[in-house]
Symmetry: C2
């Protein structure tokens, strides 16, 4: 609903109630029925390709006229390959196991009761995100496969694309006898209405904000519905005294250069002083070759020799650069590296490169980020790379889901108990 | 800390920071070290019994002078058996497995990385509860065993008891070299300070409000820290057309009478019309015998014969009576029972009594409360009865934990990844 834009809180309430009602039906759909919807949606996106590209072209033209440029404009764009990827994503999701009904515990307790824990959908998931129309279908599909209804609010620059995609999804739901309230796409930009939406904790079970820090803070500040946050990633690689330096160089340099603006990019290298005289010059040279600006502590600067190093300011540590920039600090000990990560990290992803298993084990235990890696790149913290098959985001909230959220993380476990008349 | 009562937000900040610092140490303690603290605390409570009873007597006298009576006064009271139970609880907790470090997934993904999911403490858990000094030691012990620091704010009537119990716990921690910030007991009653505490989402990971609805609403409204709620339980028993009526009678009557004021007490019986003519008179007679006031729909009244039935008002359905009162409604079908539970239930606990496995299966699937029982009393929804070994409360939030929360629910799973130099 809401292709035309809701105008009152009563309309928001009605949409949320319809989502709640729909969620009850979606929660009991069989895997086959859910997968059939996903595959039919993939086909419908193919069949409506021209209209989707036209709607998106209108969004792009309006955005450009409003002065939107660069990365933001690029995120807004849909093209043939992007739509093909959308369809592939739906087919892949249809091939994944259904988390709903999974039994995670099954035993008998002293009273003779059989106690099971069974995965069950969360209910209604609300996602608030920026102007990336690809997210609309992704988010609906993940929520739906996990048995949830969703309420989506994308960036307004993508309103035409999002409204059409949601209309196509609802057409598929209608044809297959599933309530259309399984997907609601809000196109309003009225902040008061969004704030109202965030107070509907009786109707919405989870809010996931995805996007820049301003968006996340807005949701966090106003939501009475539980939120799972995907804050920025300030990911560290600690190069231990026993590290294989060639390996460390690859891990650090590709951790930044392969995708400098992602949340799992490496932002800071911490180098043990025992290997710093050998490693820092290698790193400085590699950064220069890869076009990475190296912002180093004074000792980094001393060791870099002829290679360019920008003197790091205090606030370069703890910053997500979202660009080809890497901070570097020489540390006196393992403990100093841990203390740095605790002070400047974001609980997202941190890695150690070490040849010493006892250092690896200490790092695994003492650094309690959502993903801790030993001898591998921070860029592996991603639902697909870690075998989840799909991902709705990477949570840095230490509750419910910590790290990549896939289908399972869109469910919760409840108790199902069977007896033969037991009483207390 | 804060035995004397903090007075400024800066003091609250300092205590929360100390808790955060302590949580890092507690998170890496071995099971042996944690259990030793719990057992030493049990011993210390025994050694300080006289002082604890004196402090509690002072709380009781002050409360009585302020007009506190009845159940509230009873909850405030500690005596020899209550302290013995506290010590037993600590010993029992020491005997439970440590959830921290439990590996819930361990496999290799395509890139060759070994991916594990490992249970890790939440960090700092804040609990806000009413004047029940027993909760102070329980809550600390559960949080601590699961590797967390805790910030506790109990009802002010129990301040003397709570402050002394916390001081004893800190003495034990100090002797065993664990930072005292592992337990903070706030005794302030300044609502502005509590509100400030609830905004410290960088320092506190979870808030658990436990108590009446006003307290829970206050926390929910002001907290920016994620909360897991333990709302009221409006628990139903549906007596299906195929139910064994003797069994149904036991389940319904004991579900109320065995502990009328608990959250898992049965509040409402829904009776299929096919068995209502036989069952309602049995139920009415049993209620009269057990001193339960039966509030029935008009049909219940007609069928009850000579037994007393109070006519139910609309708002008797969906009410947690916390007393020897039971609502009863005759329904025309299974679907009507489900619709009633959806409309009036609280997602806490609902049961069916049935002789028909297909009805049982539909009920398990379509009623998605935190605990659904087939042929057993609603009163089994309790961490001890369901085999968790301990319980910090029963969550009705469909996120993180849904149902009884034990030690595992005070942890979260994170990713630990091992490679041999993999990069992307």
């Amino acid at each position: 609903m809401d292709e035309a834009g809701v105008r009152t809180t009563a309309e928001i309430d009605a949409l949320a109630r319809a989502a709640r009602e729909a969620s009850r039906d979606v929660s009991t759909l069989s895997r086959e029925d859910k997968d059939a919807v996903l595959l039919a949606l993939a086909a419908a996106i193919g069949a409506h390709e021209r209209e989707i590209l036209e709607a998106n072209a209108a969004d792009l033209a309006a955005a450009e006229a409003n002065g939107v440029t660069g990365a933001k404009l690029k995120r807004l764009r849909l093209d043939g390959p992007a739509l093909a990827q959308m369809r592939d994503g739906l087919a892949q999701l249809a091939s994944l196991d259904d988390p709903v009904g999974e039994v995670t515990r099954d035993d008998r307790v002293a009273s003779g009761l059989r106690v099971r824990k069974v995965r069950t959908p969360l209910g209604v998931v609300c996602m608030i995100y920026e102007a990336r129309p690809g997210v609309t279908i992704d988010a609906f599909a993940l929520c739906f496969k996990a048995g949830n209804a969703c309420v989506l609010k994308g960036g307004r620059e993508a309103n035409r694309s999002n409204a059409l995609l949601a209309r196509i999804a609802r057409g598929v739901l209608r044809e297959r006898g599933v309530p259309e309230g399984a997907i609601t796409q809000l196109t309003t930009s009225d902040r008061d209405l969004i704030r109202h939406l965030l107070t509907l904790d009786g109707l919405i079970d989870l809010v996931i904000p995805r996007g820049g820090e301003t968006l996340i803070r807005f949701v966090h500040e106003h939501s009475r519905v539980p939120t799972v946050q995907h804050f920025h990633g300030v990911c560290h690689v600690y190069v231990d005294a026993s590290a294989d330096l060639e390996r460390a160089l690859e891990i650090v340099a590709t951790g930044k250069a392969s995708a400098p603006a992602t949340c799992n990019a490496t932002e800071c290298a911490l180098v043990h002083e025992a290997v710093a005289p050998a490693f820092v010059p290698m790193l400085a040279q590699r950064c220069a070759a890869d076009g990475i600006e190296l912002r180093g502590c004074p000792r980094t600067g001393e060791l870099a020799g002829a290679q360019p190093v920008v003197g790091a300011r205090d606030d370069d540590f703890g910053t997500e650069f979202l660009d080809l920039i890497l901070a570097c600090r020489v540390v006196g000990s393992f403990d100093e590296a841990i203390a740095h990560i605790r002070a400047h990290g974001s609980d997202h992803t941190d890695a150690i490169v070490t040849g010493d298993e006892s250092s690896g084990e200490r790092f695994r235990r003492e650094v309690q980020s959502s993903c801790v890696l030993v001898n591998a790149s921070t860029r592996f913290n991603d639902g697909f790379q870690l075998g989840l098959g799909a991902e709705i985001g990477i949570s840095t909230t230490r509750l419910h889901a910590y790290g990549p959220m896939g289908l399972r993380e869109l469910t919760v476990e409840r108790y199902v108990v069977d007896g033969e008349g037991q009483t207390r």
